[in-house]
Symmetry: C2
Subunit: 504 residues, 2 copies
């Protein structure tokens, strides 16, 4: 068998870039030349292999198109008109006479104009549409020289520290995209609503995933429940993704209504409280729950549903579903090879007893190449033993399912006991009038008139005392109009921690 | 970006072997230790990396299990009791005092015993179940050292020449398996009926695919329509595969009945005549049609269905579906990079006009390493220009869909005109009383009493003359009780050709 080695015919680099071409032929009535145009324009502008093109934009069509058009220090920045003043401010910080990246303005027909005038600002080279028109519709996309070439650079949202630049390869994104489609059972020609920001871990790889299955992409600037309900109805949306905060918004919206058809919704980013899951499912959403990181390109654990669980009561079903679950299909099995939960002291596997906590470690095909220009940060989490250390803490249940207990950086130690933040949170969420953070509970009260009387600090503490071990009950309650959140909707715990510290 | 290179954490070799482990945890109520046992037993028997273990068996459970248990010149042969005399005959051809492979007998509880006695034959080392019992249930499967290591050695069925040993890598099978699941939109926990032989191109990679999605495998010794109808009903089968001859058997069976639920059926291997497609669909089967080769691990073209085609009349739908279609998602786009149809003289792409024929060439991640011990055969089809030459002839339609016209080795040249075998066949199939081969038509009449009077040679020729250009009409008709077929149900044209030659 020694003579049979890789050769040019069987070792074409893996990449997701061809998915859009195929979708255009199979599912488009006219050829999709848009991104060919853009890819050729980028080449004309002198963008080469190894150079970064940045995009500062919400989920507008150009954001989707650019996932396919950018070949891969930032030479060019595409800026949505809403973010133009922010980017211009950043540019103004460049020392005088220094070369700064060229800027392209993304207009949006859906939003009232006025942004065109910004072009008078000499910082902008052109409009997105202008660049597109200059492109060559016959331009053929260039396959990467190696499947290990970076395809994207994603910035983490920074719930626990400064944002980091995560570099992912064509190979990693290919593996993650195929994995995500199989794991979520995405059929051909879905209608996908972009509630999850594409700038967040590449929308968990679904820009390429939707091209793979010929999906229709419904773009959305901002997560707004009434807009979502309108679009779901109008376009017969079949699939969407979002952090648990999106589920919470949907199930607490004044526009709340039972769906006319089932909508698959995939949630990840933090453990969704059982009560939120239960409320969302009762409206007709079919919720799948997973766990992932920007560093591994998307979701790598998902709570694979067992048919026998359908017979259980709603609250028990929600409890089971709030666990992060099983490795997705491309990531082997917990306790075997590609994911483990290790005791932080011994480095050994933790017992699958649902109690013993350890740190979640990963390895596998969709793991990042590393953090850009951060050798120290990269080697800190990608260790010599071949594991990537996530910084997340979890337990393995006797049935093999993982449950994240809290981010290790966030662990609360009170009188020598480890307190699991999410456990306290889930009790708070189960009271339908509020949702917040503990052990100093930051509580944001609902706005949609369900309240006859605001609960007092005392009442909230009593509610928790009835449902939690004594040592886990929050000692202080802070009412906040709005909790500080990252651009992806995650609560910024480090800001709350700072407030709590200032109070003590 | 230069510092970011592959490292041990992100470059784990791709393989499908872990899929079964995961399925056992996610979907099994008890851990699946069966194949761990077998993998450990094989190690105990001295089987090492680089050595081949053979299996001579139909779709029995052990055949499925062995897809995961064999690490990869045959040292060990697993033999189904039905094939034991055949294998013993082969062994007897070994020169005296030569070491021949050790034999393991596969019993089948579903079949009346009597085979146990064969063990008295000293050629058999043990029973399959015996080997299994000796295994270590705690044995951990070994990840391949390289994703380029061979995982399987498949023999082609030889419709056009001698069987060849096709060696496929872990990487190739991983890519093909994920591709097949996405392309056919296979959901989680399907019920899969094994009408397609696992020994044929590994059942198009669905042994691993079913483990990936936690499917239930219904084994089947032999394609028998009444058995199939019974199992579909009993187990609520959702998915099955088979050559067009299986569709033909199902739609001509005396047990024919309209299905109580839809069954997805994927067909490939030869172009299914439109009339067979139409009959099968009218019974409740949802037919998908694809094209592939053992050499590329399974199906790499499939007729991606456009929703607008649903409005067309049945015969037009069947005509569109009988085309091989679009590259599957991991294989780029016809005319771009990973598949092309080339003019045999110029080596240039053929025009997408639905008329100009050329040879189908492929490259990509699931292509074989090569033919075992056949350097000449390998270099003949895997050429220096980086393409694998399939030997199949096709056209590209204006909508980008491929249609195979005939195997180039089979092309019939009559008075200087190229005659497309399938085109003649499809006219013959559209007459519901027979199906056959041309231009010397080998006709096998149906057996289930639809015939009041057998058609004469003259009537068959007249039927074709009414529907085909004059030069394509068969000049001779040979009535055969049964057409010679390969073990996978393909008509052995080279035998028919020999008969035709002997007649002329």
């Amino acid at each position: 068998m020694e003579l049979l080695l890789p050769n040019p015919a069987n070792s074409t680099p893996l990449t997701t870039l061809g998915f859009l071409d195929r979708a255009a032929t199979a599912y488009g009535d006219s050829p999709s030349i848009v991104y060919n145009n853009m890819a050729s324009s980028l080449t004309s502008l002198g963008i080469q292999r190894g150079q970064v093109v940045s995009v500062v934009a919400p989920n507008v069509p150009s954001m989707y198109e650019l996932q396919f058009a950018v070949p891969i220090e930032s030479k060019l920045v595409f800026v949505d008109h809403h973010s133009s003043s922010l980017v211009l401010e950043a540019i103004s910080l460049f020392p005088r006479n220094t070369k700064h990246p060229q800027l392209i303005l993304i207009d949006d027909e859906m939003v009232s104009s006025g942004s065109k005038s910004s072009l008078s600002n000499s910082h902008f080279l052109d409009h997105y549409e202008g660049i597109l028109e200059d492109g060559d519709p016959k331009f053929k996309w260039v396959r990467p020289k190696s499947e290990w070439d970076p395809i994207v650079l994603n910035y983490t949202s920074g719930t626990t520290s400064c944002p980091k630049g995560v570099s992912l390869s064509h190979r990693a994104i290919f593996i993650k995209t195929m994995d995500a489609l199989v794991d979520w059972s995405v059929p051909n020609q879905p209608v996908y609503l972009w509630t999850l920001p594409i700038f967040h871990a590449n929308g968990w790889s679904f820009p390429w995933g939707m091209a793979a299955v010929g999906g229709t992409n419904i773009c959305l600037r901002k997560v707004d429940p009434s807009q979502i309900y309108r679009l779901v109805k109008q376009h017969k949306v079949t699939h969407m993704c979002g952090a648990p905060v999106v589920l919470n918004m949907l199930s607490n919206s004044p526009d709340l209504e039972t769906l006319e058809h089932h909508v698959q919704i995939l949630t990840a980013g933090s453990p969704p409280p059982a009560a939120v899951l239960a409320r969302t499912e009762s409206m007709g959403f079919v919720v799948s729950h997973g766990y992932g990181l920007t560093e591994i390109g998307g979701i790598v654990f998902s709570c694979a549903w067992k048919q026998k669980w359908n017979k259980l009561p709603l609250t028990e079903r929600a409890r089971l579903k709030s666990r992060q679950g099983m490795n997705t299909v491309c990531f082997g099995t917990v306790g075997l090879t590609e994911a483990d939960v290790l005791d932080p002291k011994t480095g050994e596997l933790v017992k699958p007893d649902g109690k013993t906590v350890g740190e979640v470690v990963l390895r596998g095909g969709s793991l990042m190449l590393g953090y850009l220009k951060d050798i120290e940060g990269t080697s800190k989490c990608m260790r010599e033993n071949g594991w990537f250390y996530t910084g997340d803490v979890g337990v393995i249940h006797p049935d093999g399912y993982l449950e994240i207990k809290d981010q290790s950086k966030d662990i609360i130690i009170s009188d020598g006991e480890n307190i699991s933040g999410p456990e306290v949170e889930s009790v708070l969420y189960s009271n339908p009038v509020f949702w917040g953070e503990t052990p100093c509970a930051f509580v944001s009260l609902k706005k949609n008139g369900e309240l006859t009387q605001k609960p007092s600090e005392k009442e909230i503490i009593q509610y928790c005392r009835d449902r939690l071990p004594h040592y886990m009950v929050p000692k202080t309650v802070v009412f906040e109009n709005e909790l500080p959140k990252t651009s992806t909707g995650k609560v910024q715990k480090f800001i709350l921690r700072r407030i709590a510290k200032a109070m003590s």
